[in-house]
Symmetry: C2
Subunit: 115 residues, 2 copies
DNA sequence: CGGGATCCGTCCTGATACTG
DNA sequence: CAGTATCAGGACGGATCCCG
């Protein structure tokens, strides 16, 4: 997720696990992917769906995911502009990972929820 | 992983998934946990086992994980000192998550490995 | 050995303002 | 609507020095 990973890629890619974590560990990455699991969404829809994210981070996260072939971007020359984001096939393969994290969160974090 | 999460916990904990990602997404967090899956390790052993980490980040990560009850710390009053780190039961429950990430990494990232 | 404390530079993050 | 530009603050990362 970090911008300087392009420079460090040679080192990081020694280990697939590290590289995966590197991709996954962006603050909003998995949330965006998770939100897109439901299907095609426009930029503003994503922004509204993801609590707490702001424009800049959503743009950044989407660009990163696009460059990694996790997310697909389709722009239509309408006025106002329409841009739709979907998961690629590669992106869809992350579903089991997300499920596992969600499971873990539900089983091991719920008691720490205040209130 | 971030230090300011204690302040933000009320907001973050609205969503268990976000909270999980928050915990997981530390740069070294999952690597440390993964390394400890093999069993008990001393500080220097961990530092040597994890390529690229430095003392400060290992200390930080371990403290964070200790406070979250993921990692257990046992210190022995020997000379020189001996400190052993193990996963707690809660920490062990992350194994399926790590497995899933590893699986995904192997199946979807290996072709991006240079060389 | 197992850290703690500090300095210091870089990069990431978030909020705000602005544009086609 | 879908972004871009900018700026301040905090997190990260490495090096160094210190202690019991």
């Amino acid at each position: 997720m970090k911008a300087n990973q392009q420079k460090n890629n040679e080192k990081l890619s020694e280990c697939p696990f590290q590289e995966a974590m590197d991709l996954i560990s962006g603050k909003w990455t998995m949330t965006v992917i998770n939100t897109l699991m439901a299907g095609k969404l426009r930029f503003k829809e994503l922004e509204r769906a993801i609590e707490g994210i702001n424009t800049r981070m959503l743009v950044k996260t989407l660009k990163e995911l696009e460059s990694r072939k996790i997310v697909n971007r389709k722009a239509y020359a309408t006025v106002p502009p329409t841009v739709e984001y979907t998961l690629t096939k590669k992106g869809m393969t992350l579903q089991p990972v997300i499920k596992e994290i969600q499971n873990w969160a539900i089983n091991n974090l719920q008691m720490t929820l205040s209130q």
